[in-house]
């Protein structure tokens, strides 16, 4: 007798197996509800405890990052390195670089209308980064200047702003000041400077180049690139500053917070796995005759395991959805900060994996029981 010669294939249809799993999950309400509640509690507990740590970690790391863990500074302190004015545009074109700009020599400037004040100016080449917020006026075009918030008072620049002129060369044409900027993060020290926009071809050599990397992880690689193909005529006179200390601090903090989170999560997940195991063992024990009957009716062992896992997954998924939603909502309400979506998805995935890995050996054991012992009536 060949199953392919009969009217029926002897192979269950996937759609019908899926419907059977749904029917089974409904019929076995106690097991389904237990799994739903357990997984909801596990996900909720992980998110409100570990999730809080993860959110704190993300916040601290963000603060450290704002202090310049991604910023590389090239400086020509002695003025002999000869950093080419085209360097910022070239560096900005590299992959892994968010932006790059360069600053020229410092020149003392004054307001020709009220010349008792002075401030340093530097030519700027390249796109101004987002860390420079224009709080008054507009961004400068080549030949125009913007003043940092720290120098507007010294140069008597009012709401309509004004002009500046080099103290050492009062005969030169005044440079119009068209805006005021506020520098934040690692560039905050530039608040006391006037920046005069310059095209690369109009600028001479630069004294500083600032490069923002896309990610902390590429800092070392970028540093190596800068050292091997230096944008300076005399690379030996060039100083390359990377935020090694800040990166180390970031790694230490992330590592410590991460270790605490992982331990806590392991405990919660472990307890959850134990409850899932007990629930599944109890459910399969109470369905021994059901398993034996289905084996007699032609269910393969793998089909029995698959339907059992599918039924368990339905309850687990409902619990995971409830638990993560409640956990995220609680975190938002109590701390005002949320863990990343990757963390939430990771917790949900881990919870489902926990259910399946715990349930699989129990279902497999049940499917391998001797059906005759189960089915025979003494």
């Amino acid at each position: 007798m060949n199953p392919t010669q009969g009217r029926w294939s002897g192979v269950p249809r996937v759609r019908d197996l899926a419907r059977d799993a749904v029917d089974g999950a409904r019929a076995g309400r106690t097991t389904t509800l237990t799994l739903t509640v357990v997984l909801a509690v596990v996900c909720f507990a992980v998110l409100v405890t570990t999730g809080q740590s993860a959110a704190s970690e993300a916040r601290i790391v963000e603060q450290i990052d704002s202090a310049g863990t991604r910023l590389i500074a090239l400086s020509d302190d002695g003025g002999k390195a000869g950093i080419q004015a085209t360097a910022p545009d070239r560096l900005a074109g590299l992959s892994d670089v968010t932006w790059a700009f360069g600053l020229g020599d410092a020149v003392d400037m004054t307001n020709p209308a009220l010349s008792d004040g002075r401030a340093a100016s530097r030519s700027v080449v390249g796109d101004l980064p987002t860390d420079f917020a224009i709080i008054q006026g507009r961004p400068p075009r080549p030949g125009e200047a913007i003043a940092g918030t720290g120098v507007t008072a010294a140069l008597h620049l009012g709401p309509g702003l004004g002009t500046i002129q080099p103290i050492a060369a009062p005969g030169e044409d005044p440079v119009p000041v068209v805006g005021v900027f506020e520098a934040t993060g690692p560039l905050a020290h530039l608040d006391d400077v006037i920046l005069i926009a310059a095209a690369p071809e109009d600028a001479e050599t630069l004294r500083y180049v600032y490069i923002m990397a896309d990610d902390v992880a590429v800092i070392d690689r970028l540093e190596a690139v800068l050292r091997t193909s230096s944008p300076a005529l005399d690379p030996s006179a060039l100083t390359v500053e990377t935020p090694a200390g800040a990166i180390a601090l970031r790694d230490v903090i992330a590592g410590r917070l991460g270790a605490t989170s992982r331990q806590l999560m392991a405990v919660v997940m472990g307890v959850g796995a134990a409850i899932v195991a007990v629930t599944m063992a109890s459910a399969t024990a109470s369905r021994r005759r059901d398993f034996g009957r289905r084996r007699a009716l032609g269910a393969t062992r793998s089909a029995l395991v698959a339907t059992t896992l599918a039924q368990s997954s339905l309850g687990a998924l409902a619990g995971i959805a409830l638990g993560t939603t409640a956990g995220v909502a609680t975190l938002a309400a109590t701390t005002g900060s949320l863990p990343s979506w990757r963390f939430v998805a990771g917790v949900a995935g881990l919870a489902l994996l926990l259910t399946l890995t715990t349930a699989t050996p129990i279902a497999a054991h049940a499917a391998h029981r001797d059906p005759l012992r189960i089915l025979r009536v003494p």
Binding site: P12, R19, R293, L297
Partner: protein, 224 residues
């Protein structure tokens, strides 16, 4: 046709065989009764023939081909596609409706659900339990439960039906309905194998295989 070749079976290594060197062929289109005293191995032989147990010696053949040596999944598919089962205590899933219980055998046979539902309603009408479709097994009588089990066994129009003490717990009228259903199905050309200790049923069967506690068999009528 289902048969055995020098079939032996022992539950444990070194234990006395429950079935010992049995060769027989059970013809199609007939009811064959497996009889014998308690412990003679009626149910064991039934489950061996149904490929749910692996022989410790010899083999089970279906249509002349070795079937008991097939992998477990292949044996399961053979059962799903060609076998109907009737158990002594009906063995319905108490958490599902009567209709869902009848359709249970269709799932693993690969029978589409819509066809299964339609055929299940027909069979339930034929056996007088159509009005119980939405009830749970706990809400119907033992006789009705066994009729539901018959519906489940016949749903896929199987070529072989195995019944283990199908009338053991039933009153006379319910037992008669079950017996008639089995003989009617045999009349369609199917092989029906019934393990029973009921001598009155055995007498009414077309063939009889008598087992002894020593694991031997004797046969009556058309059993080779």
């Amino acid at each position: 046709m289902v048969g055995t070749r020098s079939l032996s079976f022992a539950y444990h290594a070194g234990a006395a065989p429950v079935i010992d060197d049995v060769t027989l062929d059970l013809p199609a289109g007939a009811v064959c009764a497996l009889t014998g005293p308690s412990g003679s191995g009626k149910s064991t032989l039934l489950y061996l023939l149904a490929l749910m147990l692996r022989p410790t010696g010899g083999e089970v053949v279906w249509d002349g081909r070795p079937a008991s040596t097939l992998p477990d999944a292949a044996r399961s598919r053979l059962r799903a596609a060609h076998v109907g089962f009737v158990f002594q205590d009906a063995l319905l899933d108490p958490s599902r409706t009567v209709l869902a219980n009848v359709c249970d055998s269709a799932l693993f046979a690969g029978m589409p659900r819509t066809i299964a539902t339609e055929r299940a309603r027909d069979l339930m009408g034929r056996f007088g339990v159509e009005h119980r479709g939405d009830h749970r097994p706990g809400e119907i009588s033992g006789g009705q439960a066994q009729r539901v089990a018959i519906c489940r066994a016949l749903l896929t129009d199987p070529r072989v039906v195995f019944a283990d003490e199908p009338t053991g717990n039933l009153d006379d009228s319910s037992a008669e309905i079950v017996w008639q259903a089995l003989t009617d199905h045999a009349a369609t050309g199917a092989t029906v194998v019934v393990a029973t200790h009921d001598k009155t049923l055995a007498v009414r069967a077309d063939h009889e295989v008598r087992l002894t506690v020593e694991g031997r068999v004797t046969t009556r009528a058309g059993v080779a």
